[in-house]
Symmetry: C2
Subunit: 219 residues, 2 copies
Amino acid sequence: MIQNYNSKKLYERLPIYVHFLNSIQESNISSTTISKSLNLGEVQVRKDLALVSGKGRPKIGYSTKNLFKAIKKYMGMNHASKAIIVGFGKLGKALYDYAGFSELGIDIVQAFDISNTTDFVKDIKELDSYCLENEILFGILTVPSTEAQATAEKLIRCGIVGIWNFTSVRLNVPSHVVIQNENLAASLSVLVKSTLDKKVGNDYEKSNETNDSYTSKKH
Amino acid sequence: MIQNYNSKKLYERLPIYVHFLNSIQESNISSTTISKSLNLGEVQVRKDLALVSGKGRPKIGYSTKNLFKAIKKYMGMNHASKAIIVGFGKLGKALYDYAGFSELGIDIVQAFDISNTTDFVKDIKELDSYCLENEILFGILTVPSTEAQATAEKLIRCGIVGIWNFTSVRLNVPSHVVIQNENLAASLSVLVKSTLDKKVGNDYEKSNETNDSYTSKKH
DNA sequence: GGTATATCGATAGAGTTATATCGATATACT
DNA sequence: AGTATATCGATATAACTCTATCGATATACC
């Protein structure tokens, strides 16, 4: 493959553009404006947009509406993707109620747990029939770590091919299944370490701008 | 800088090693074993360990205890880092109760909200005095998007230099502050798109292994 | 003690992602 | 109509990250 621009990082930015485009009133928008609003590199935004969208016009930019549609189409956000949550603890509840998914074409249609079943939380025994009947492809895994691998396998047997894994377990799955790890503890550690790095740097030399970290951009 | 291995990806993996080392009984452990247990590349693990730790021994591996200590030291996990949560909605609650942080030397010492104050949730008006008295460096931002920027600025005025940002807003902060964005909606989108990519690939050509995605490893 | 080997550490290279630069062009403005 | 310029698209380069390979070595085993 000569050049593969279907990068993970790109896939992270496109939803950010969608959210932004959804929030503005202007009928046209330039990559410059987008980059400034979102603290992203100007060239990067242009490259992203060039990949997924039609032409932009000098002095004008892109049609907001067309751009919006183009990104959603590219990301497969046109037809809604149905996901279920397995493990209805605090984190599962929070994600179930999280408002930001529908804008990106994702519906969390059902929650499962081993107990605490209510009108909208099914017992995990019903997982199998529910997933097959409703053709669920995506599962959000928020069970205790001890149950992670077994539950993942259960999901896969039910036809799920994409798992958003909030447990600290590194799942072992067949190659047709995609795992997206969301290791919150590790993520917070990254912040702490990055911050300490920068802080120490600043303490040594009072100078700024040295070894400017990845997480905060300087444009 | 000739070669900077203080990479963000490295910082994500080190806590995973810590968690793993914490869970095993063996007094020695090899990079091979670690890599297999965690579904990571063998060479990658060795390189990571070589960077932070003392020598390993052929046929034996590393001393679990020493390795554990070395990583924690490298990551600054020896002295506990104190963090606060601002915004005590469902997500804030979930993070407040999340068990995985302490193992990595991070204590969430206090939660704040604009209302719903209880014995362990302080009113956001007390943010200032609390942070300065307790020398808080890290803030977890789980407020509504409309409040994100203003709240971030408030945190920064209180001396906070690292912000874990769960809002969909791309914060604008001075250069001495580190932002770690945790855009859940974007993250789930990545999973959906990656999965669809692979699925389509498999539907075209019945072959496997083509364009094997980044999220599931093949070792 | 000698031999086989698991594991290490280092180097080189491949793949991925971001940035810098610059000419082209459609638009706005005089 | 002519000129200035914001914005685009493309190419080249730099930075970052991961993987393959291989010789060195300490250990286990005969």
